[in-house]
Amino acid sequence: MNFDLSDEQRSLQEAARDALGREDTVAAAREALEDPSSLPDLWETAAAAGWTGLLVSEDHGGVGLGPLDAMLVAAECGRRLAPVPFLGHLPATLLAEGDELQQLAEGEKRGAYLPTMPPSDLDDAWTVDPQSGLRRSPAPAFADGKVTGRVHWVPDAAKADYLIAIAVDGGVPKAVLLETSQPGVKIEPTIAYDSTRPMAHVELDAAEGKVMSASADDITLAWSVAQGLIAAESLGAVEESLERSVQYAMERYTFGRQIGSYQAVKHSLVEILRLMENARSLMYFAGWAGESAPEQFTLAAHTFRVGAGEALDYAARALISVHGGIGATWEHDAPLFFRRAQLSRRLLGGTGAAADRVAGELLAQAGAAPARG
């Protein structure tokens, strides 16, 4: 029994914290709301630290670490609202192969995974987030070696060199590597309520790409890893929100007392702590499952998504509330965490669909093994 981070993992965390501490990424997030072009590009930082190849084996130019390591780094990025293009790139490296994989791992090229949800009880088919509304869109189609379809709300696509599209051929998904510059690929950058998450819609019109050897299981894994990464970013943001909230609750006085001495404030801060510790345990669950219990990884990654999402929803609002009116002003940092919470909740299927999948996994287990419980 050792359900804790290893010394190597702690070093990785600290190194990430150091690397990301060099720029005031939170202030940059506010500036980028008015001038998106001002957003710092942290790609060099990521590549230098080896993060671009975090999940790639050393044979292919990576550093051969696992999902938990990736989540730990993502959490540090989330803490600083740092615009490191992880959500798109890392899952892409799980599906790419050959020279392109090497280029991605070494940070020479940037990848973007087109998030595609595996079939679930909600939709018995591969789907992508719709541009708008609750009805999910079908995943792109694969026919005659070509990919056609539209994928919305793709993180990190605007600056990507390679896309990994999931295209469906008679119900079977294929991972297809495309170059963003090639014919038939159109990338439309779109609004970002959270300036640090540049989003794009991707239009594929009979785009011809390289079909990777990834199986449906591999493709499901990429989706789940993406769930874990966005959850980890949220967890990091929660940690930072709690730290800032506690600090203010110690500094601010009302009616002659520090506001942190009032039960209403104290209990709310403890609620952040409770949700945060639960989410951290679920990150460990996902990390452990990714390494030692792959059959539980889908469930684990989605519980982490649900738990971290709930924690950030709560923490971002509490961070504003504890600061009173000033916390809701443009010049304050709290709204940047709120923006992060609002957008994260609705990306990659949203936390609602993640909760549905948690239920689906458990119901399937319960149905399959009626003697349990």
Partner: protein, 405 residues
């Protein structure tokens, strides 16, 4: 249970309606200012308030001697309802006419009433309220802005106010300032009228999450205030401020229906999506938040009834804000869950979602409000106070000590 007008109310309503019909062609639209056209917008709305005042529909509850109609709060509500029904905006200076004018009527000198009320009514001079400070939010009596009396009886004012609506185009502000630090905090404040164009006044817009500057910060640096600009007695400002807050409560109690958050508006957003309209989770959430908003609407009628009878809604009326903000947050979350990130792009839902965190703290945090209601309505005991009987000047030292113990 009767939501109909009394015959007198019906008659007044008919009169209002006739006037609106005759004048609405000249009324501006309901939309806010477009970027870069703020000044023009304000000028148009000033003109419209003047037209309303001349028709007798500004200061409806003000005494006739000050240009008002001497009518009751219910008549004021009728005017508001009819203007809304006609799609026509109301007065520009809601805070001045609704809260500051009545405060001056209650506590001002004859000269003050003579000088200030008529231009306020006609929007020749718009007013702003200068109470809140960065370090005195929930605890308003903790303000630090200081007015020091000069040899000639005039005052010098220094400090910072915040959350000031309309400051950037107001002519005057009603400002609460500390005039004596050697007494307990409630006892050493006075209320003044300050010209917003006086030397030493610096007004800076304060942008909210939405990106819009709904409020201002106002800085005062040795601003000269003449002796006759004090409203009420020296060191008696707290009572004057309570009058203002009472009129605020009346204004909120009578007017709002869930702060404009209507169940049908949110239902419409969901109804547009057939998948969402048939989703059990979405419907459940919608049904619950709509129930809250409808409760607010009918709670409003209970308050109006209390006002009609010459009273005020009970202190529990303040809980309406809690319900409104909670239901609107749930609605924003639901609609953005249904629509997806597109709802966060510019537009009404993005604005709603970004606006609510600020509204939550506006007018006192939810915690303070619950304390107030628990103590006044349920009769629950107060918390131990560390600031009782302590001169203001010693408070911070005591606070530090209290934190350590």
């Amino acid at each position: 249970m009767d939501l109909n007008d009394t015959p007198e109310q019906a008659e007044y309503r008919a009169k209002v309606r006739t006037w609106i019909d005759a004048n609405k062609a000249g009324a501006p639209g309901l939309d806010g200012p477009t970027a870069g056209k703020e000044e023009e917008f304000i000028a148009i709305r000033r003109d419209w308030q003047r037209v309303l005042a001349e028709g007798g529909f500004a200061g409806v509850t003000w005494p006739a001697e000050f240009g008002g109609q001497g009518l009751g709060p219910l008549d004021q509500v009728i005017v508001g309802q009819e203007l809304q029904a006609a799609g026509v905006p109301g007065i520009l200076d809601v805070i001045g006419i609704g809260m500051l004018g009545p405060t001056i009527i209650a506590h001002g000198t004859d000269d003050q009433k003579q000088r200030y009320l008529a231009p306020m009514l006609h929007a020749d001079e718009v007013w702003c309220q200068l109470f809140s400070e960065p370090a005195a939010g929930s605890d308003l009596a903790g303000i630090q802005t200081k007015a020091t009396v000069q040899e000639d009886g005039s005052w010098k004012l220094s400090g910072q106010k915040v959350w000031t609506t309309n400051a950037h185009f107001a002519s005057f502000g009603l400002i609460l300032a500390r005039t004596n630090s050697d007494v307990t905090k409630h006892k050493g404040m006075s209320m003044f009228i300050v010209p917003m164009d006086a030397a030493g006044v610096d007004i800076r817009p304060l942008r909210q999450i939405t990106g819009e500057a709904e409020f201002n910060e106002v800085f005062f640096d040795d601003v000269h205030i003449p002796a006759d600009a004090i409203v009420g007695p020296v060191d008696g400002g707290w009572m004057v401020a309570l009058t203002t807050l009472l009129f605020e409560r009346l204004a909120i109690g009578g007017g709002s229906e869930g702060f404009g958050y209507r169940a049908d508006r949110f239902a419409k957003a969901i109804a547009d999506d057939p998948v969402a309209s048939a989703d059990a989770d979405v419907r459940h959430r919608l049904g619950k938040l709509a129930t809250d908003l409808l409760a607010l609407r009918y709670t409003g009628y209970r308050h109006l009834t209390a006002i009609e009878r010459g009273g005020l809604p009970g202190s529990e009326a303040a809980l309406g804000k809690v319900t409104a903000v909670k239901a609107a947050i749930e609605a924003g979350d639901l609609i953005a869950d249904v629509i997806g990130p597109d709802a966060l792009a510019e537009g009404e839902w993005s604005y709603l979602i970004s606006f609510l965190p600020g509204l939550k703290s506006a007018g006192g945090t939810e915690e303070i409000l619950r304390n107030m209601v628990g103590e006044r309505v349920l009769g629950l005991p107060t918390e131990p106070r560390l600031d009782k009987g302590v001169p203001f000047s010693e408070l911070r030292a005591l606070e530090r000590e209290g934190a350590k113990s």
